[in-house]
Symmetry: C2
Subunit: 283 residues, 2 copies
Amino acid sequence: MIPAGTKPGATPGFRPEERVLKIEDADDPRLLPYRNVREKDLVGRSQRFIAEGKVVLNVLLSSARFEAESILILENRLNGLERQLSLCPEDLPVYCVSRDIMDEIAGFHVHRGILAIGRRKAVPSAAELLSSLPDKALVAVLCGIFNHDNVGSIFRNAAAFEADCVLMDETCCDPLYRKAIRVSVGATLKVPYARQGSIDEIMAALADADVETLALSPSGTRSIYDTPPAPRLALLLGTEGEGLPKPLLEKLGTARIPMSYDFDSLNVATASGIALSRFSRFS
Amino acid sequence: MIPAGTKPGATPGFRPEERVLKIEDADDPRLLPYRNVREKDLVGRSQRFIAEGKVVLNVLLSSARFEAESILILENRLNGLERQLSLCPEDLPVYCVSRDIMDEIAGFHVHRGILAIGRRKAVPSAAELLSSLPDKALVAVLCGIFNHDNVGSIFRNAAAFEADCVLMDETCCDPLYRKAIRVSVGATLKVPYARQGSIDEIMAALADADVETLALSPSGTRSIYDTPPAPRLALLLGTEGEGLPKPLLEKLGTARIPMSYDFDSLNVATASGIALSRFSRFS
C-alpha cells in the first residue's frame, strides 16, 4: 500500500521537509557558493556550475558525468520535488530558504526557486569522445561561438536529434555557464562535449577517427538536402558574422541551407537545428 | 567624377552633418518620443514602434508598409550612414545627439547608436493578405506565441525562407515590440503579417482562400520529411508548453519533426526554422 498523499515515484512515506536543512540566516557560510550567482562564472578551473530549475536538476541528478555538490530550494517549492529529493545521495546537502533569502543571496529573482551547485567529474578530450563513437554517428563542431544563448540552443538541438557529442574549439564560450545551461534545458549536462584546442586540432582528431566533415556555410557548394549523409558525420558551425575561417572552408566539403538571397543569414542556433534535423538518424 | 571621400551609394557631395539637426538639450520636446523606450510598448493603437540599428533602419526606409517618423543618431555614428541619410525624404526629421543624451533619454545604453520611430501605414486583415497569395505559397500561422524573442526569431526564419505572410491570432505578442523587431533583424518590417482574431477565424480565412493547413506537433501523425508539400501551405505553430489547442489538432492534418523521444521538445522558433526550410521553395 502506498500511503495517501505520496507522489508518484517518491519513496513511500518520504517527507521532503525531513530531508532538507532549513537555513534562516543569509550569512550562513553554507550558502556562500550561491552568493551573486547571476554574474559569477563559476566554471573556470573548478568545473563547477549553477543549475537552475526542476528540469535541469533532474538531468544533473541522473548524470554520469556531473554531480551535485549541494542544492538550494525555496521553501514553498519542496512539494513537487519528492521524487528528486528521495533519490539524492544521503551525503548531498539540500538547503531550504525563504524567498527573501534566496533572492538576496542569488542577486536576482530566482523565479524557478531551485538552484544547485554542480561539478563536472571528468573532462574528456575530443579524441577520447571520438574513440567511443558508434559506426553511425553525428557530431556537432563549433568554432568561435561565444554567445551563451546560441551555445545553449545548439546543445538543446544536439540533444533533440541525439548527436553523439559536441566538439568546441577553445574560442567558444563555456557550455556550463548558467545561461547556457538554462537555455539548453539541461542539454549541456546531457550531450558529451569537449572544449579545448584549436579548430585545426579538432579537425585532425576527426580525421584520425575517420569521421567525415561537412562545413555549413552560406557560400556552400551544395544544398544540405542534396548532400547524402555520411555514416559518421561531423557538422561544422561557425559564428554568425564571420562564419568559419576561409582557409578551413577551402579544405572542406561545404553545404548551405538553401534560402533567400535577399535576407540576412539565419541565426546559427536555428541553422544547427535545421542541419542536425536533416542529418539525424530520425529523418 | 565622384568627389574623393564620398561613400558608395551616397549622393555625390552629400554631407551627413548638413542633413541632421543637432540637439544639445535632453529636455527638447522633439526627443520626447524616444524617452524611456526600453520599457515602453509604443505599439498599441498608434501602430508606432522603435527601430534600432543600421540593418533595421535600412529595412524601415525601404518598406512600403511602414514609414519613419523621425530618426535619432549618435553624433559619432553619422559617418557610415551617408547612403541612408541621402535617401531619407526631405521632410523626415533626423536628430543627432551626444552619447550622454542618447543613453539618458532612451533609458539604456543604445550601443548601436541608431534609433528611429516608425509607424505602420496599413493594417491588413488575414483575408486581405490571403487574397493576394500566389499559386505557390507558404504561410506561417502562430497561435498563442507571446514571447518576443520567439516571435522575432520566427519572423527572421519566415524572411529567410521567403514565407509569403505570417498570420497571428490575437493572443500572440506584437511583432512591432522593440525586442521582437531587433531579434528578427528587421524581418517583422519585411514579411507581411496580420495579428487579429481567434485561431478559428484564421483557420476559416485559410479555408476560404484554399490554403492547405499542416499543424506542427510533437504528436503529429507523420514526419515533416514524409509529408509532401501542398502548393499553398500554411504551417501552424503553437506555444512550447501547451502546443496547439487539442480541439484544433483533432480537425487538422498534423506532422512532427522527427527527434529523440528522450528529450524535451524543440524551441518553437527552431521548430519553425526546420519546418519552413523543409517546405520552402528553395529546398
